[in-house]
Structure formats: structure tokens, C-alpha cells
Amino acid sequence: MPSVRVPCSAHDRARIRRTLPAMLLAALSACAGNSAIESGSLEVTVRDPATGGGVPAASVRLTGTSLAAITNAAGIAVISDVRAGAQPIRVQSVGFCVNDRTVRIAPAIRTKVTIWNCGDVVEVHNAPTEPAIAVLDLRIGSGPASQCLADELRQGVGYMDVGMNAMPITPCHGAVALLTRNHAVYFSNDASALPWTASPGDVLSVNVSPSLLHVPIRVTISSHASLPYAGVLQLTQDQLKMAGDILSNDLAGFDLAGDETGAPVVIREATAAQKGIIGTGCANVAAIRATPALYSQGHLNIFVVEQATDHYGNDIAGTSCLVEQAPDIIFVSPRVAKPHTLLHEVGHSLGLQRPMWGHTDGLEGFWGTNPSEPLNLMDSGRALAIAYLSVGQVLRMTIAEESWLNLPSAPNGSTVRQRQAPGSSEPLSVPCGCPASEATDDCAALSRDISRTGVKNEPTTGTLACGTFPVGPLAVSCGAPTNVTAVLSPVGALGSARFVSLDPMVLTVTPSDNNSKMASLTGVANGTGRVSVWADGSPSMFTVVVSGCP
């Protein structure tokens, strides 16, 4: 639009002179108001790692600005009117080292951070503005006072103060895991790569994977008798949304995707013939695996059915086919499922299998609104919707040997982690422990976690079972039921066992009940059959020779 210049009259000039100061004041007020919204204040506490006390007279400066303050006797300095967002700061005390950090200033409130003066630091080099959690195995002190510390948790944004002087790791175990929102979990147990020296101020700078780990899933909707296909599709999409929200919220480091490039999940409808193959539960695993249109070795294959059933024909909301040693096959019934059931089953497939079948009911250290209202994703059912994963659970899902992410899932025997995050998939030196309270060098305890709202479960009484000892081999006569009893590991532990015939054409298995250590075997054809026994840990297997059949 063309502009038109209109000459000012004397009256106009006088009016402008009268109103200009008010207009400028209004503009300045507007700017000041905007500044109050877009800025906040920063309170820095500088602490001495040796004593834990505050460090007085340290300078705190926003790098590249004139905004600065000196810490008081308690080691606290406050800087006002700091622009919101990520801001680099430098903390320097007289005669000590320089501490450079990036802090995230929240608008309109006072952001509080603690800097451990000259302490060691873990820095997420390529994600400086992301919330992060570090899990560290460290050594502190020297000589007789030397201690090995396991699974120390630190939280921060872009960096985490270790809060102590980490020493050269030998003879302790050294490891570091990093959880961030938008990157795969970083894990290293390579002690030689740790920078810790006897001097303070060491920085462990980690470049996390450029993206999340993409856990490829294929979703096939099978039966949907009580709802139109569109209705079941919507419920399935609800499950996927809840899964995505929980994984992001808990810094799980992976998402559920259509393939390993992160493509969107594709939901298919099974044909009539395929529905017959899928069935309602894990009984059809062999047939599913033999049908390329239904099964992909490189995916978690999720089947959505009207009503999923377990081995005994009982209605269930979902199941991962662990007993059949098919963690890549999952059944879900969104018509009877909790909003987080699909992710619960994915949790089982990714190594959350023990103790207590991977369920956290009653396990020490898991959070609930009160003891009877659990909040953990892997509770066996009562958790409603705010279902969290602990740091220990997230770690196991990524690094546990029984996690599907670390099992061969391609013709060349490679794993999902090897294909997508080769820089952080060092082989584990020690398998993840069982039960939950038992950590190993590389795996934190399942319940290891940041502080959450609620109350924690009390310690579990008794020892929890982690597996079974193999039974047999046995010889049974055709048609004559033979009773067997699972021996839990460790002996005398609490837990239940489940028996599954892997060769039902040779012999059948009838449990004494669904929560028992006993079962009855019946031969139906001459030959050798296999039975899997599953008790809170990895399944064991034994063989049964059937004879005497016509």
C-alpha cells in the first residue's frame, strides 16, 4: 500500500509534544511487562565437594554479559532479570578452578541450581538443554578410605554435578548410563574411557545418540466382534499414544515406530484366513512365525484381538509370549485393557520378566499413591493410568540380556541396539540381576529411581524366586498322568511356576492350578517332547520320553 505524507500543522506538533512522553512511558511499561514474563531470576548455591558446605565469595556470571553476583557466607548468589531459556554461566572462586555450566532459566520464577565447586561433572555434550539422568558406578576416596559406589543417580539439564571427586576407577567397577528425552539410552562399562583422576574438576563429556532408539512394531488387528473395526482401531491408537507419553515422560530413550528409521506405526487388519492363524493367544506362535504376512523377525509383532487368552483359556488383557520364547509376539485386548497395557506387554518383551513375572506388586521401592494404589507400569493390574517406569526398569529394558533389543532379530544375528546404536552397545560383563533388590555391576536394581510423588512399597519379606532348576529328563507311559513339581531357584524362594508343553502332539500339560509349582504330564503319542518351566525368571526346559502309545 502506498504511503501518503501529510504535513504537520503547528497544532499537530503541539499535540505530539503533549502526548509523546505518555506514549513512550506506555511503550516502556509494555517492554518491562514483557521482560517480566520472558525472564526469571537465578539462585546459585556453590558447594565444596569435600565438606558439603557453601563456598563464599565465589563469582557467578552469565557468560558474555555483565550480569554477575558474588556468593554470600552460605555460598548463595542471586542474579535477577535473567532471560528465560538456556544460559551459560561461569562460577569461579578465588584460587580454585573454573566451573562452566549451562542452566535453564524458567520464566517468571527463581531457578535454583547447585554447583559443586571444582567437582567432577557429567556433561551431555550434544543435548545441553535436555533433562537428563545419569547412573554412575564410581570410586571415591583414596587409600584405606577408598569406596566403590554403585548406581549413584544424578539429575540435571545438560550436565550433572557428580557432587564429589570421582577417583581413578581401579579396583572398582566403572560404568555410566545416561537417560535423556530425545536420545537413546547411553551406556558404557568401559572403565578405560572414564576421565576420573585424583584431581577435582574432571568432566565426562558424552555425546548421546542423535535420536531415540526406534523399537519397530507391527500391529495387526485380528478379531473385533463387539466393535466395528474403526472402534478397535481407535482403541489401539489410544494404547500407542499412552505408550509414547509414558516413554517420553520417563526418559526411556526409545519410541515405538513402524521401522528402525522411526517411520510411523502401521496398523493392519488381518484377513479372514490370517485370523485363524493368529488365534487368541500364544498357543499359535509357531504358526504365526511361519506366516511371513503376519510375522517379521525384525519387529515386535503385536496382535490386537477381541479377547486374548492364556494357556489355560483364561481371559486376559494382554500377554507377551515369553514362555514360548517368543518375546517378539504380543497379544493385546484393548476391549478389556488398561490404557497402558500395550506398553506393559512391551515391557515384558524388553526384559522386565523377573522376579514375580516382571510385576512390581509388593516389590520394595516402587511408588504408589498409597500401598494399594500402585503407579508403576509393571504392576500386575491395579495401576490405573499414571503408570511410570523407574530408572532401573528403563536401564534393564535397554541393556538387559533378555531384552528383545539385545536378542538376534535379523538373519545376520544382529540386534536392534547393534543396528541402531553401535556406539553404546558394549557387551555386558554380568547379566542383570534378580530379584529386584539385587543389582549387578552393570544393571541397577529394578527399583533404583528418582524421587517421585507418593509412598514407596515396604521391603518384601522372603526371598523371591528367579528361575527354576530343570526337571527330568522324564519317561512317562502313554495316557497315564505323571505329576511334576518345579524346583524354584533359589531353593525355598517365594514364587509360582508355569509349565508349557512345547510339543503338544507328544504330550500335554495340565497345571494343578494357575499359580502352582505342580503340573500333570500326559503322553499322547510315542516320542520325545519338550516342556518349558517358567518361574519368575528365564524359562528352563526338560525333555519327556513318551512310550506305550498304540
Binding site: Q307, D315, G318, T341, W357, G381, S496, N514
Partner: protein, 156 residues
């Protein structure tokens, strides 16, 4: 005269026998804890269902309550609140509505299935009673009807 008196007595006797054969279902205000755990379980690996079936008739009042009313309204409220105001990304009102309905339906389905397998007159009566509330069963009515048929219950 005599025959008329006889008819009245016979009617009273028949009614008494019928009353004996059709015991009233004990009403439950809250769910038995074993039934509650069964109704809520996801993969149900700890014998939740077997324990309820073993309870037999004593499980019927709780299962009837679950079949007719669904979950405790406080739990439905808690689910809706958790989905719409939780620490997770806020879910859409449609998702909240759908998931609340699924939650109600899950109780009805599981209760119907357990009543079917427990069997016997009290269980059959509870199943038949649900037919009167067919409207509230919505998409789950076919499942409950199937349970009635498989249980062999004869509903009037």
C-alpha cells in the same frame, strides 16, 4: 370345597419349594479383594482367576456387583482424572471417554466369564439379572449373552 382347599395348599407348598430352590443372591456393597484383583489384572499370571472360580458361590455377590455396576465410580473418576490431568501429556476428552468405557466394560466381561464358569443357580441368576440392564452393557451385551448361553442359564 375340599378340592379348592387342596389347590390352595398345593399352591403354597409349590411356592415354598420354589423359594427354597431359588435362594436370594446375597447383595454386596464392595468387592471381595480376590475378585477385585481378578477384575483388574492384566496378564493374570498369578492365578487371579483360578482363585475366584475356587470361591464358588461366595464370589457371586461381588461378581454380580461388577457385572451390573462396573468398577467403583471413584476408580472410574480416578482413571479419568489421571488421563485428563495427569503428569503425562493431556489426553483428549474422546480418549478419556473411550478408556473409561473400556474400563467399565472390562469388569462386566470378566465378571460374566467368571459367573459362567462358576455356574450354579446363584451365578445363573446374576447373569440373567444383567439382561435387565442390557442398555448399560452397550457393546458388551453380546459377550454377556454368550456367557449366559455357555453357562446354560435359562433366563425368563
Amino acid at each position: 370345597m375340599w378340592s379348592r382347599r387342596w389347590v390352595i395348599c398345593a399352591t403354597i407348598a409349590a411356592a415354598s419349594i420354589a423359594a427354597c430352590r431359588a435362594p436370594r443372591i446375597e447383595q454386596a456393597d464392595t468387592l471381595d479383594d480376590r475378585v477385585f484383583v481378578f477384575l483388574e489384572c492384566i496378564d493374570c499370571t498369578n492365578g487371579e482367576r483360578a482363585r475366584v472360580i475356587l470361591m464358588g458361590d461366595s464370589a457371586v455377590p461381588s461378581l454380580r456387583l461388577a457385572l451390573l455396576n462396573g468398577p467403583d465410580s471413584l476408580r472410574v473418576d480416578a482413571l479419568e482424572r489421571a488421563l485428563s490431568q495427569g503428569t503425562l501429556a493431556v489426553a483428549s476428552p474422546d480418549l478419556v471417554r473411550r478408556q473409561a468405557e473400556v474400563y467399565r466394560g472390562s469388569y462386566r466381561r470378566r465378571a460374566a466369564g467368571a459367573l459362567r464358569d462358576i455356574g450354579g443357580l446363584p451365578a445363573h441368576r446374576a447373569l440373567c439379572e444383567s439382561k435387565a440392564t442390557r442398555v448399560s452393557l452397550g457393546a458388551d451385551s453380546a459377550y454377556v449373552d454368550s456367557a449366559i448361553v455357555r453357562a446354560g442359564a435359562r433366563c425368563r
